[in-house]
């Protein structure tokens, strides 16, 4: 309720004020007339009724037609403002929101995933709504928007925040034991803050080689995905043959580290067949040797894929919504100390006590309901949508507990 000058809140509030206002008047009228009649015609003063009127078709008509007119204005006002909640401004940015028991995940077009919804001020935002398990509902009271997230169905809401700040997001559709804790926030940032937030995403996520390629504008002429452009694509270079023109002769070479270094430091010496010699040379001042190595490594696919961050994965995928990290009681076993623990599980109807190890954790992630820790309900969704590396990272992180 802390900010009402945004477009969706205004659309809703105008209708609310109109209907509540009329309702209050009607309630007041009915109550005053009732009390007036009760006092005026009380039995101590009127021992017998002074009228035996049985009705009036004129009055019935009046109080049928008048309310119809009044409620029809309410209906139409409510509908026309509702349309405003569904029509999204053309320049809206899109964010994907996925609800699951019992947390939210927001995914940006560049693949970045967050547990809070970061948006720039004054920019219409379209939130695409998904659910991975049961019904939830995306509700931001400050923007007066609400929409259920339904499994296997896409839905949306939109809003535009004219002021920076933090606004609560609730789950409004009952979804089980963690329903009341399924809260997060919209973080509305100023344009500068948002730009910084957005670029910090790039810095942290991308390997150095790719950053250099971006910074130096290489991508402007050389595509990364194999599309034809002014220069040859940088897609899948390592070990592939290439015809080049060197000293007026066409020869075939195999792309390797040395070739790529020459191609950056002295591009015109060897020209890939079919292209023009127009690429500027990048000397050590433009790209130092270290960065050159990073670029070459990146282009040859040698960059060790950065190991996924287990902590981050557990937050992003909502694990800690049910499994606490601090040992507190919850609806699922706590993660605290899980690496050193013996657990009693129910498997095929029998109780077995085992030591927690990597293999057990892998089974628990991929087929959680085959073995249930005693005292808990089989309700965890399988994490089989994660990559093998991500599963490994989570297991590694858990075993450190």
């Amino acid at each position: 309720m802390n900010q009402l000058n945004n477009p969706t809140a205004q659309a809703v509030d105008n209708v609310l004020i109109y209907i509540f206002g009329f309702s209050l008047l009607l309630l007041l009228g009915i109550t005053v007339v009732t009390i007036y009649f009760v006092v005026k015609y009380r039995r101590s003063k009127c021992p017998e009724p002074t009228s035996q009127v049985e009705g009036s078709w004129l009055l019935e008509t009046i109080w049928t037609v008048l309310p119809i007119i009044i409620v029809m204005t309410m209906f139409w006002y409510g509908w026309s403002n509702y349309v405003g909640l569904r029509e999204i401004p053309a320049d809206a940015m899109e964010v994907k929101a996925t609800a699951r028991m019992w947390s939210w995940q927001f995914e940006y077009p560049d693949g970045r995933k967050e547990t809070k919804l970061y948006v720039p001020v004054n920019k219409p935002v379209k939130v695409l709504l998904y659910s991975t398990d049961v019904l939830h509902s995306f509700f931001v009271p400050a923007f007066r928007i609400k929409r259920d997230t339904v499994p296997n169905m896409e839905s949306y809401v939109w809003f535009q925040a004219p002021e920076t700040g933090s606004y609560d997001i609730f789950c409004a559709e009952y979804c089980g034991v963690g329903h009341a804790d399924m809260t997060t926030s919209v973080e509305v940032l100023s344009e500068e803050d948002y730009a910084q937030w957005a670029s910090s995403a790039t810095v942290s996520a991308d390997p150095r080689g790719l950053i250099v390629l971006n910074e130096q504008g290489c991508i402007g002429c050389h595509s990364l995905d194999g599309t034809e452009n002014i220069g040859p694509s940088l897609f899948e270079l390592a070990g592939n043959p290439r015809e080049i023109e060197k000293d007026g002769k066409t020869i075939e070479i195999i792309i390797d580290e040395a070739y790529l270094q020459r191609a950056i430091r002295d591009p015109d010496a060897e020209i890939t067949k079919g292209f023009d010699p127009m690429m500027p040379a990048y000397d050590e001042e433009a790209i130092n040797n270290e960065d050159l190595q990073a670029v070459v490594d990146y282009l040859l696919g040698k960059v060790a894929e950065e190991e996924p961050d287990g902590d981050r994965l557990m937050v992003e995928n909502g694990c800690i919504g049910c499994h606490s990290l601090d040992g507190s009681e919850s609806i699922a076993p706590t993660f605290k100390g899980i690496g050193q623990r013996e657990v009693t599980i129910e498997r095929d109807g029998q109780s077995v006590t085992i030591k927690v190890d990597a293999e057990y954790l892998r089974r628990a992630l991929l087929d959680p309901n085959a073995e249930i820790v005693k005292g808990f309900a089989p309700m965890m969704p399988a994490a089989d949508y994660l990559s093998a590396e991500e599963i490994d990272a989570i297991i590694k992180r858990l075993l450190q507990e």
Binding site: I19, E48, Y82, K146
Partner: protein, 541 residues
């Protein structure tokens, strides 16, 4: 007050079988009505305690007296008991059975054995619901709406609770069939459609909804069990089903069901206001047809529970329009009740106070419904505590108060004893004030944006939650006082004559409590309308 021991006269003493079997095997509509009444009041008191516990939990953020799972189970059981075991059968099954046949001059309902069977369905349903709370697996935690896919996944006793609700549905249908037939076939000579008491008209409208809509509930609940036990996939989008389809099926019954709950209450109010104004009900035919109109139009508005569900915008347009249409007959009723007071001779006896409180509460509930029926404003209010408050304003402030009014109005007839009026008025005041504080605060915190079914909430919602919880204590004190007073009245109250209030309908022309056969040797012949008070004198008590 008198210390005379309670004498069992009338239908209490005349029975073909002695003792407890004379009740459990009785096909007499009054005995069945009393059995319903005892069960229904018991269920109300149980669910009331659960509701008080919910309010206590919400007095502060964080777990106060219970954790989330207990809270979820508690509101689910509170809802199931209040809806299926209290409100739906409250007035039709208890007072409908007691009063309806006498009001139309009949000696019983058309199918007395079916009537007893419907009571047994109610009892079996109630027992199953109670077992589902305590059996292994844990009390159901789905909310009384059983929304899929959650209800198909949770490991709690949903199957049992659903089966219980199914049995209660059968009970409701059988009662509906019985009432429609009785009203058509068993009216006394001279009891034309224009002389039916308004209570009978509303029971008639209700019975049609019970017959036509309740089978939808049965189908829906069976589909949940199929889904849970056999994995039918009907509501699973990954296998070609649709979770939103479930919501349509559920509300196709459950929205008309709220009119099953409120219409008989409106009938009670339409009896009490003319009696205590000594004046004919204003606009008899408008009242009769508005009851039928509510029953008809109310069957077409179910999807207004689903504006935020992902349903198409066109559907929202249509259902929002229809929802506003159903507001009209309810408004007509309110205007006619108030007009009945005009130039009357108004006596503020306990039943009348409850009836006037009904009009006020129901007006707030109905007007709040307008904000929920309009598409834009519903988007904000949907699934907040505003909806919970609104629902309680119509169902508790409306039907609940009508039930209390009916208790104060008809209990003297069926027990032959009068309760203490002074305590009845004080308890009414406490219930009225406590009720409004509890649920107005709940509505207000919903407008602030607090979602419903939250055991924990943000600190900014605390002040209004504290107000609401304190209100619930006042309400509870009032209710306890009211029930104790009624109980004392039954046991030790002054004996009353045939007609303590000066009413003009047929049940007040026979002894209190009525004899087994209702009327004497000869069937009654009706010569005047239900609200013709000329020459009717109230008996002293």
């Amino acid at each position: 007050m008198t210390n005379e021991p309670l004498k069992y006269t009338g239908f209490y003493s005349e029975s073909p079988r002695p003792g407890i079997l004379g009740w459990l095997l009785s096909t007499d509509h009054k005995r069945i009505g009393i059995m319903y009444l005892v069960c229904i009041v018991t269920m109300f008191l149980v669910a009331m305690c659960l509701g008080l516990a919910l309010r206590l939990e919400l007095i502060a953020p964080g777990p106060t007296i219970m954790g989330p799972q207990t809270y979820n189970a508690t509101f689910t059981v509170h809802g199931i008991i209040m809806i299926f075991l209290f409100i739906i059968p409250s007035i039709p099954a208890a007072f409908g059975n007691l009063v309806l046949p006498i009001q139309i001059g009949a000696r019983d309902v058309s199918f007395p054995k079916l009537n007893l069977l419907s009571w047994y369905c109610y009892i079996i349903g109630g027992i199953l619901a109670v077992i589902s709370i305590f059996a292994g697996g844990g009390a159901p935690d789905t909310g009384w709406t059983f929304y899929v896919p959650f209800s198909t996944q949770t490991t709690t006793n949903v199957n049992l609770a659903v089966t219980g609700a199914l049995m209660l549905g059968f009970s409701s249908m059988l009662t509906g069939i019985n009432f429609v037939t009785t009203i058509h076939r068993l009216r006394a000579e001279g009891m034309g459609w224009g002389r039916l008491p308004m209570f009978v008209w509303t029971l008639y409208s209700t019975a049609w909804i019970q017959i036509l809509a309740t089978p939808m509930l049965g189908i829906t609940l069976i589909l949940i069990v199929l889904e849970r036990v056999f994995g039918a996939g009907l509501f699973d989008a990954a296998r070609g089903g649709d979770p939103i389809l479930y919501q349509h099926l559920f509300w196709i019954y459950s929205h008309p069901a709220v009119y099953i709950m409120i219409l008989p209450g409106m009938g009670v109010i339409s009896e009490i206001i003319p009696t205590f104004s000594r004046k004919p009900l204003f606009g008899y035919w408008a009242m009769a047809f508005s009851s039928l109109a509510i029953a008809f139009a109310g069957s077409l508005v179910w999807a207004h529970h689903m504006y935020a569900s992902g349903m198409s915008d066109f559907a929202i347009l249509v259902f929002s329009f229809l929802t506003f249409i159903v507001a009209i007959p309810s408004a007509i009723k309110v205007f006619n009740w108030v007009s009945t007071l005009y130039k009357g001779s108004i006596q503020l006896a306990p039943p009348m106070l409850h009836a006037l409180a009904f009009i006020f509460n129901f007006a707030i509930g109905g007007l709040g419904g307008l904000a929920l029926g309009a598409a834009a404003s519903d988007i904000h209010l949907h699934d907040t505590t505003f909806v919970v408050g609104h629902f309680h304003y119509t169902m508790f402030g409306g039907t609940g108060f009508a039930f209390f009014a009916a208790l104060h109005y008809w209990l003297p007839k069926f027990t032959g004893r009068m309760y203490n009026h002074k305590i009845a008025v004080i308890s009414w005041g406490l219930v009225f004030v406590g009720f409004n504080v509890t649920y107005m605060a709940m509505q207000a915190v919903g407008v602030q944006g607090m979602p419903r079914r939250y055991y924990d909430y943000l600190p900014e919602f605390m002040p209004l939650n504290v107000v609401s919880t304190v209100g619930s204590w006042v309400l509870a004190i009032g209710l306890v006082m009211m029930f104790v007073n009624l109980w004392n009245g039954i046991r030790r109250g002054h004996p009353v004559g045939k007609n303590p209030w000066g009413s003009a309908t047929l049940e007040w022309t026979i002894p209190s409590p009525p004899p087994m056969e209702n009327f004497g040797e000869e069937d009654p012949i009706v010569t005047k309308g239900p609200y013709d008070y000329k020459g009717v004198v109230a008996d002293e008590y």
